[in-house]
Structure formats: structure tokens, C-alpha cells
């Protein structure tokens, strides 16, 4: 049999890593992956290649998850600064020599095309957790200013591409670390107040397409065939699913191509149309278990670095899932955020796999008091 040597070596490697894998996390990620693959199979019925590619992406993500799970927190800590630095350099390179796709310069062609902004989704929390860990026990107010600058530099670069969705996610990731590191409540209040106050300024700085997305959120019927089409058709898909859904592979909105981006950002509409409210509840529960488990891991984490990292990752996972579902169901404007484990796309899965790996790493090292 031609079981290739690589898979022969994979077996023992997996077995050696088994103790590091968190069963709850592994189970929930596994179920989510199966749900995701089933949904994609239906959503991508007219792109048969995508299912196979996604299967491969999942394989890659799992391998990365297991690999990262086996690292020691110290290694993660050591990687924080280089990953962040390389990420920032790549972001600068994107602005200088990036590839434009659909009017946005997000990709860098280094033999393989990579999206450096994606690195920052984990690079920024890693960097900030490392920074606060170094200041352990002596975190001063000034440290939050430094942390804010560390966040805002890549965020500004990403926003310039422009990729507002990713910029906001990266900013959120950094914010979560600062929040768990003890950002004073007063500052938090001021930041929230400031964000609200700066909305009009933000509006003026926005691109037209970004403004349109917000306008269509307010009133999707204002332009049902144009700007509001995506949101409206997604809402029709969700609403028409009803309690039990139309059944797997039976969604008319999906299979008659009314749902835009139905394999990637809008795949939740496909899921929702075919599996209904019951399916949505199941999915929400799965995500709550995922996030809850991540928060529990943070709770049990032994060091400042792992606490902050696990807490931030928990909230990042929440943000991804919440923002995507809220966007597709029409309560948030359309931003390019994939639904974790469900949306088609290798980059997001790789990020998710590594994030889960980090959580497992934190969990398996919880008892080591000092590093």
C-alpha cells in the first residue's frame, strides 16, 4: 500500500502530542468543522472544487493546531516580538508593493500570495501579552499608552489598504489584551465615549462603499437591487428558513444564487436557510461552548502572559462569530469577517487552528507555576 511515509510519520507524532490536546476544545472544534464542511458542501454545490480545498485547509489547520499545542508557552513568548515585527514590515511592504484585488491592496506576492493583515490577528495579542507580561506586577498607565501605539501602528497600516474589517478585528484583539491587563475602567469609559463621539469624523473619512454598507444596514429596502441586495437576500434566506429550515441542500436562496459570497462571508445565511432556527441555536451553543472553554482556560492559566493570551483569543473567537452572524442577519454593517470554522478560506482556518493551538498550549501548561 502506498500509505506515504509522511502519514506514517504523522501517526506517532500525533500520539506524542495527544496529552497536550484539550478534549473539550477538540470536540467542539471537531463538531464545528463537520458542520462547516456540510454547509460548504451545500453552499459550494456549483464550485465542486471548493469542498476538497476546504478539506485540505482543515487538515492544515489541524496539523498547525496540534503543532502549536505542543509548544511551550516560553516559545510562544519568544516568538511574539519577531512575529509582530515581521508582520509590521510585511504590512509596509503591502502598501509599497502589494497586489490590488477589487480596489484594495491587501495581498503580497511572495511566491505564494499572503495577506499580512491576517498575521496581525494573532501577532498583536501575542505582542501585547508579551509586553504586559514583561511589566508584570508593575503595569503603569504609561504602559497602556505604549500598548495602544503597538496596536494602532498595524491597524493604521491595515486601514490604509483599505481593509476596515480586519483593521477593526486587529484593534479589537489588541483591546482585549489591554482590557484583561487591567485597563482602568475610567479609560475604558473615555474610550467608548470617544469612539461614539468620533463617529461623525469616521463617517467623513470613510470610503463610499463603506458608507453604503452602513446606510443599507439602516434601511436595506432603500436600494433592494443595489447596495442593499446582499443584506436583504441574506435576511430573506435566514427568515425563509423558519424553525426547521428548508433542509440540507434544499435552500432556494442558496442554490439559485441569490446569496452573495455564499461560501465565504455569507455562508451563515446558507446554514440558516437550510437548518432554520434550531440549527442556529445549535450553532450558537457550539460557539458559546468554544468561547466559554477558552475563557475557562484563561481562568486557569498560570502566568500573566498565558492569561492575557487565552483571554484575548477567547474574545477574538467570540468577535469573529458574533460579528459575522450579526452582519449576515442584518444588525451590523457588512464587513469582511468570516464565520469561524464554517466559511470557506484557508487563511482564516490557519489563524483559527493556531489560535486553538495556543489555547491548548496554555491549558496543558496551566500547572507550571513559574517559567
Amino acid at each position: 500500500m502506498s500509505m506515504n511515509p509522511m502519514s506514517q510519520r504523522l501517526g506517532p507524532w500525533l500520539r506524542s502530542r495527544l496529552p497536550y490536546l484539550d478534549p473539550v476544545l477538540l470536540a467542539v472544534v471537531g463538531v464545528l468543522s463537520l458542520v462547516g464542511l456540510a454547509t460548504l458542501y451545500s453552499a459550494a454545490s456549483d464550485h465542486p472544487g471548493r469542498f476538497g480545498e476546504q478539506l485540505r485547509n482543515f487538515g492544515l489547520a489541524f496539523v498547525l493546531m496540534i503543532a502549536v499545542a505542543g509548544l511551550s508557552p516560553r516559545t510562544l513568548k519568544r516568538l511574539a516580538l519577531p512575529v509582530y515585527a515581521i508582520g509590521v514590515l510585511l504590512l509596509i511592504a503591502v502598501l509599497v508593493a502589494g497586489v490590488s484585488v477589487k480596489g484594495a491592496q491587501r495581498w503580497l506576492d511572495l511566491g505564494v500570495r499572503i495577506q499580512p493583515a491576517e498575521i496581525m490577528k494573532l501577532g498583536v495579542p501575542l505582542m501585547l501579552a508579551w509586553y504586559f507580561d514583561r511589566r508584570e506586577g508593575a503595569v503603569r498607565r504609561m504602559d497602556f499608552v505604549v500598548a495602544a501605539l503597538l496596536v494602532l501602528a498595524p491597524v493604521a497600516l491595515i486601514a490604509r489598504q483599505p481593509d476596515l474589517g480586519t483593521a477593526m478585528l486587529v484593534m479589537a484583539a489588541g483591546f482585549f489584551v489591554m482590557f484583561f491587563a487591567g485597563l482602568p475602567w475610567l479609560w475604558l469609559a473615555v474610550m467608548i465615549g470617544g469612539a461614539v463621539a468620533s463617529l461623525p469624523v469616521g463617517w467623513m473619512l470613510m470610503h463610499d462603499y463603506q458608507r453604503n454598507r452602513i446606510l443599507t444596514l439602516v434601511d436595506p429596502m432603500s436600494d433592494p437591487l443595489g447596495k442593499g441586495f446582499h443584506t436583504l437576500q441574506a435576511m430573506i434566506a435566514i427568515g425563509s428558513g423558519g424553525v426547521f429550515g428548508k433542509g440540507w441542500m434544499q435552500g432556494t436562496q442558496t442554490h439559485l444564487e441569490f446569496i452573495p459570497e455564499r461560501t465565504s462571508d455569507f455562508i451563515f445565511a446558507v446554514y440558516s436557510e437550510e437548518f432554520g432556527l434550531i440549527g442556529n441555536l445549535v450553532l450558537v451553543i457550539l460557539f458559546m461552548v468554544l468561547v466559554g472553554r477558552a475563557l475557562a482556560i484563561a481562568l486557569q492559566a498560570s502566568s500573566s502572559f498565558t492569561r492575557l493570551l487565552a483571554g484575548a483569543i477567547a474574545m477574538i473567537l467570540f468577535t469573529f462569530a458574533f460579528v459575522n452572524m450579526a452582519m449576515v442577519s442584518g444588525i451590523l454593517p457588512v464587513v469582511g469577517v468570516p464565520l469561524p470554522f464554517i466559511s470557506y478560506g484557508g487563511t482564516a482556518l490557519v489563524t483559527l487552528g493556531m489560535a486553538c493551538g495556543m489555547l491548548m498550549c496554555v491549558q496543558s501548561n496551566r500547572k507550571l507555576v513559574q517559567m
Partner: protein, 641 residues
């Protein structure tokens, strides 16, 4: 100050933050679940309907328009399928450049371009505008091979209306054209406006318009599952269309052709009616036009040509031209005189060639010097004495004339099944009061007697009255459509009314008038035209003044501008032997034709010869109104129009 490390305190703070975070997570997911419940429970029905609407397209299946046939079954309007080349304007960046490129593949005439731009301007909501119609097989193949170069340009098979006889009978047939904004209001009033979903054409004038609802048919529908891009996936349900009804005209298209040929280049109108049914056998308005020009949208140049021509080919003269009818009015007036007891057949009036009334001299048009002398009622018709009718009109008075003529249909709508019929004017003192707020002057009655003055009738009214006269006073509503045929069952639904009104007339008076009119064609003004006829025809010539001739001036045809010459008229029916049932009655007018006897009567002869004897007249001779009439008129000085 250096802070002391306090791990317990730090962990406590962190746990507080975790709790806050957990609450945020919970709040976020709960709000999502609420949103899902809102969409999937509360608004489920509404969204389900929208998804179904998205999914299912109702595609109208346009019905075949009914055919139009003449009374003998000859098809005069039909449909044929042909390819058109159409451009979707919103999918094409530069229309003119695209058309230039297209012109290299299939021939595109300047008139195609003009029509395209006109359609584009007129019908902004059209998603596809034809640039070329009726492509040949070769052109279809050439375009198909180059199709990839022309996004937004499509080849479509469409049903077209065709009028195979071209400009024959165009004023009866009318034409169809693209539905305009005005037509949409009309459609809303139809019984089944939904039948017009997917319909592009509608009858504009003629029977195409007046029988639109019969011709159109019932539109079928197909429910098709479509993708967001509009591509059909499968058919869910289907209801077939029902073709429109066929019209059987009462028109004899051969007769119609003969009349149109007999008119040649002259302007005018002729209506021939079968008296006992009201069937319109011929309905001619000259010049005609080619209705095929209108079907795909007429190009502006052709339109200007038709619309601005001094001959007014688009004017339906038979239906909408109102004229004084001259001496053709006399037999009707004679009948009134007999019916009212104002004249007996032997009543004699002396005709010195003029008539004085209140200091005005009314002259005999073209009488021999000294007039006709003693004229009885019979001779008044045969020689067409004006003075006789000046006196008679004066004796009757305008209101008695009005009341007698009204039942005969003068100045009334005949109710023919064509739209746009005009009423004309049958004057009365009440009418003048209403119209001009003036009283009637006795002098105005005098010229009423010879069909002039305020008299203004359509040729259709005149033909209708002649048919009523021939039919013994039984009024049959004239109609051009004889029956409506259901194409699936072949069942005919006749439109012919059993009997309209009946005017109580003394049969002896009718016979008297008929015999006088027969004498017109034997010995009077119609004798030249009816020389050698093997049947008896009753007729009456008429000449209607177009411009007033000064009292001291004699009408001289050769000196007057052609457009100011008199109109030539003729009414007739045949056969007119005692006891015979007349099979055809007609009225005709040749605009600026001059004398009725010369210009109009020969056309009537050709009609009767064909209709009664089946004789096809020889190819048309050059129009006889150019110069040829003068010597004949001189030789036939007794015959008066």
C-alpha cells in the same frame, strides 16, 4: 514608588474582567438568538414569500394575434415569425459604435438607425430595442458566428404582423404598433389587462384597434424557477395561451382593390354597403398608406413623408372627412317632400335658371340659358335642377328638413365598428342657436336644398343613407367586421344586427325616387357612365363647391387651382329594377374631381360591373380629370352634375 507584586490581587482583578467578558459574550449571543427568532419566527412568512418570489418568475406566453380575412376568406392580416436583432441599451456602453460594428456584419440602413433612436427615445423602459428586423437566414448565420463580439446584442425570434396586400384597405385594417403610454391607460380599461403582460404591440387604428380585445387572445403563463442571474432552471407550472379570434370582414377585398385602382392618384373616398345587412363591401379612402411601415415603429423619415404630404394619406376620408354633398342630397329631399306631402309627383316648379330670395339671386349652377323651364319632381332629379330645390327647401324650412333627414342618418354617427367617426353637421335653427348663438335666416335654407350651406356629412353617412333608401327605409348599422371566428372551434359569431331602426316610408314614394334615380343613369347626368349596362342602376351625381364662386362669375374648371376645384360625388344602388332587391349601395367622392358625372360616376359603374357581373375592369387609364373633361362637358350640356 515601586508596586509590590501581589499575584492574588492580580488574579482577582483578572477574574473580574473575565466575568465581564463572559457577560458580554452572553449578551452578544442572546441578542443574536433574539434576532434569529425575529427573522425566523415573527417574519418567517414574509421572508418565505419573498424567497418564493425570488425563485419563481412568471413568464407570459404571448398569444398569437387573430388573423383578419375578407368576406371571401382571403387573408389580409397575418403573423409570421422572423428574427430581429436587438440591443439591450443598458448593457452596451457606446451604442453608435456598436451599431457601426454591427453594420459590418449585417446590413443596417440609415432608416434602421433612425427608427432605433426613435424607439429608444419613445420607450425608455424597453430593455431591448430592435435595430434590424426580418433578418434573412444568411444574415442570421453571419451574426450568430460573430455573436461573441457583441455583448448586449441579441438575436430573437419574434412574431410579426404582416399585411400582405400592402396599402390596400389600410384605412379599414389600420395597423398595430408598440404599446405607448397612452395605450397603457386604454389597456387598464380592458376586461383583462393582465393579458397585456408581455405584449408589445397593440392595435392603433382601424379594425386592428376597434377589435383589439378579440384579436389579442389570452396570454398564457409559465412559472419558471430562475436563478438570481435570471437563468431558468426548470418549469414549475404552465398555462397555455389562447390565440386571438380571427376577424371576417364584410369587405370584399377584390372589390376594394378595384376601387382603389379606379381612383388612381386622385384623392377621395368610397363606401359600398350591402343594403339589407349593413355589410360594408368596400371602404376606400385615397390615398392609402402601407400599414407594414408602422408595425416595427415607423422611421421618422417615412413618418414625415406621410404626415406632411398635402394629400394627407393618413386621413381617413370616408370616416373623418366631412363635406357638403351637393346634388346627391336631392333624392333624399325629394323623398322628404313626398313623405311630408309638400310635393306631389306631378308638382311643377318653373326653373328660369335663377331664384330670387330677399334680394339675393341664387343661380342655377350649370343650366342651359333660361333654365330648365317647367320641372316636375321626377325631372328635378334627372336633370338636377337647383332652382327646384331652392324653392322646395324654402317651402319645407330648415327644421322640417332636419327632422326628416335625421332618421336617415345625416349628421349622426352611423355606429360603424371603426373608431374616430365624425358627426358632421345637419343644420337646424336650434343647432345654429347652440353653435353660433344666432337665429336662423331664411336665406340660409335655400342652399341647404342643394346640399351646400351648413350641410357637412361624412361619405359614410351618405352611403349609409343611400343603403337605407335602397333597403326600403330599414336602417342596418354599417359594419366592416361580419363575423368573429374562434380559431380553435372554427365557430363564427356574427356581428350583423338582425335589424336596426325602421323608418316608416310610403313604398310608392320610395319607388318614385328609385325610378327617378334609375332615369338619372339612363337619360340624366349618369347616362354616359352607365351606357350599355345590362342591369339597372339608380344613381345621382353631385358636385360640391369647395370655394365660394362669386355670383357674377361662372365656374370655370380650367382656370381654378386644382385644389379649389369642386368635389365630384355620386351615390348609387343596384340592381334597381322594380321588385329587385338591391345588392349594393354606394357613395363616393373624388376630391377636386370636378363634375360628379365625369369624375365619380364611372367609378360606381366599375364597382357595379364587378360586384354584379364579376367584370374586372381593364388596367387603369390615365386619370381622366386632366383636360379630357372639358369637351365632354360641353357636348353633354344637358347633363348636370
Amino acid at each position: 514608588m515601586k508596586l509590590l507584586r501581589n499575584p492574588e490581587r492580580e488574579v482577582f482583578y483578572f477574574r473580574t474582567r473575565l466575568l465581564v467578558a463572559a457577560l458580554v459574550v452572553l449578551a452578544g449571543f442572546v441578542s443574536l438568538v433574539m434576532r434569529f427568532a425575529w427573522l425566523q419566527l415573527v417574519r418567517h412568512h414574509e421572508f418565505y414569500e419573498q424567497a418564493e418570489q425570488n425563485r419563481i418568475a412568471r413568464v407570459p406566453l404571448t398569444a398569437n394575434r387573430g388573423l383578419i380575412k375578407d368576406r371571401n376568406g382571403e387573408i389580409i392580416a397575418k403573423n409570421y415569425s422572423a428574427y430581429t436583432l436587438e440591443i439591450a441599451p443598458n448593457q452596451v456602453q457606446n451604442l453608435d459604435a456598436t451599431i457601426d460594428e454591427l453594420a459590418k456584419v449585417v446590413p443596417i440602413e440609415p432608416r434602421d438607425r433612425r427608427r432605433f433612436h426613435k424607439l429608444l427615445d419613445d420607450y425608455k423602459r424597453l430593455d431591448s430595442v430592435p435595430i434590424r428586423t426580418r433578418l434573412t437566414d444568411v444574415e442570421v448565420a453571419r451574426f450568430a458566428a460573430q455573436r461573441f463580439r457583441f455583448p448586449g446584442v441579441e438575436l430573437r425570434a419574434r412574431l410579426f404582423r404582416q399585411y400582405p396586400l400592402g396599402d390596400t384597405a389600410s384605412h379599414v385594417l389600420g395597423y398595430i404598433g408598440r404599446i405607448s403610454t397612452g395605450d397603457e391607460d386604454r389597456i387598464d380599461k380592458f376586461n383583462n389587462p393582465r393579458d397585456y403582460e408581455g405584449t408589445e404591440y397593440i392595435g392603433k387604428i382601424g379594425v386592428e384597434s376597434s377589435y383589439e380585445e378579440f384579436l389579442h387572445g389570452t396570454t398564457g403563463f409559465e412559472q419558471v424557477e430562475i436563478t438570481a442571474g435570471g437563468h431558468p432552471v426548470r418549469t414549475l407550472a404552465r398555462s397555455a395561451s389562447t390565440p386571438g379570434h380571427n376577424l371576417i370582414l364584410s369587405i370584399d377585398i377584390k372589390l376594394q382593390e378595384i376601387v382603389e385602382r379606379a381612383f388612381g392618384d386622385r384623392r377621395g373616398a368610397l363606401i359600398a354597403i350591402e343594403p339589407d345587412s349593413g355589410d360594408v363591401l368596400a371602404f376606400v379612402s385615397k390615398p392609402t398608406f402601407d400599414p407594414n411601415l408602422f408595425v416595427d415603429g415607423i422611421d421618422p423619415l417615412s413618418w414625415d413623408g406621410l404626415n406632411n404630404s398635402p394629400d394627407k394619406p393618413l386621413l381617413n376620408r370616408a370616416l373623418r372627412g366631412t363635406y357638403p354633398i351637393g346634388s346627391t342630397y336631392k333624392p333624399f329631399l325629394a323623398l322628404c317632400a313626398l313623405e311630408l306631402g309638400k310635393r306631389r309627383p306631378d308638382s311643377v316648379t318653373y326653373d328660369p335658371g335663377y331664384f330670387w330670395y330677399a334680394g339675393h339671386e341664387f343661380r342655377e349652377g350649370r343650366a342651359p340659358k333660361g333654365g330648365y323651364g317647367n320641372v316636375d319632381l321626377h325631372r328635378s332629379i334627372v336633370v338636377s335642377s337647383d332652382v327646384y330645390y331652392y324653392v322646395l327647401a324654402n317651402d319645407l324650412g330648415v327644421d322640417a328638413i332636419h327632422d326628416c333627414m335625421q332618421p336617415l342618418g345625416f349628421g349622426q354617427l352611423t355606429g360603424i365598428d371603426l373608431e374616430g367617426e365624425l358627426t358632421g353637421v345637419l343644420p337646424s335653427s336650434e343647432w345654429k342657436e347652440r353653435r353660433f348663438h344666432q337665429k336662423w335666416y331664411g336665406g340660409e335654407t335655400i342652399s341647404i336644398g342643394i346640399g351646400q350651406g351648413y350641410n357637412s356629412f361624412t361619405l359614410l353617412q351618405l352611403a349609409h343613407a343611400t343603403a337605407t333608401l335602397a333597403n326600403g327605409g330599414v336602417v342596418m348599422k354599417p359594419h366592416v367586421v361580419r363575423a368573429i371566428e374562434d380559431p380553435s372551434t372554427g365557430k363564427l359569431q356574427p356581428t350583423v344586427p338582425s335589424e336596426g331602426a325602421r323608418i316608416q316610408l310610403n313604398p310608392r314614394n320610395l319607388e318614385f325616387i328609385r325610378d327617378a334615380m334609375v332615369d338619372v343613369d339612363l337619360n340624366g347626368t349618369g347616362r354616359a357612365a352607365f351606357a350599355g349596362a345590362t342591369y339597372r342602376a339608380a344613381g345621382k351625381t353631385g358636385t360640391a363647391q369647395v370655394v365660394g364662386i362669386a355670383q357674377n362669375e361662372k365656374y370655370n374648371e380650367s382656370k381654378i387651382d386644382e385644389r379649389h376645384r369642386d368635389h365630384a360625388l355620386f351615390i348609387a344602388f343596384a340592381p334597381a329594377e322594380p321588385g329587385a332587391r338591391p345588392r349594393i349601395a354606394l357613395a363616393l367622392l373624388v376630391e377636386n374631381g370636378g363634375w360628379g358625372a365625369m369624375a365619380a360616376a364611372p367609378i360606381a359603374r366599375a364597382v357595379f360591373d364587378y360586384y354584379l357581373l364579376g367584370k374586372i375592369p381593364p388596367p387603369p387609364t390615365p386619370a381622366p380629370h386632366d383636360g379630357a373633361d372639358e369637351p365632354v362637358a360641353a357636348a353633354d350640356a344637358k347633363g348636370r352634375p
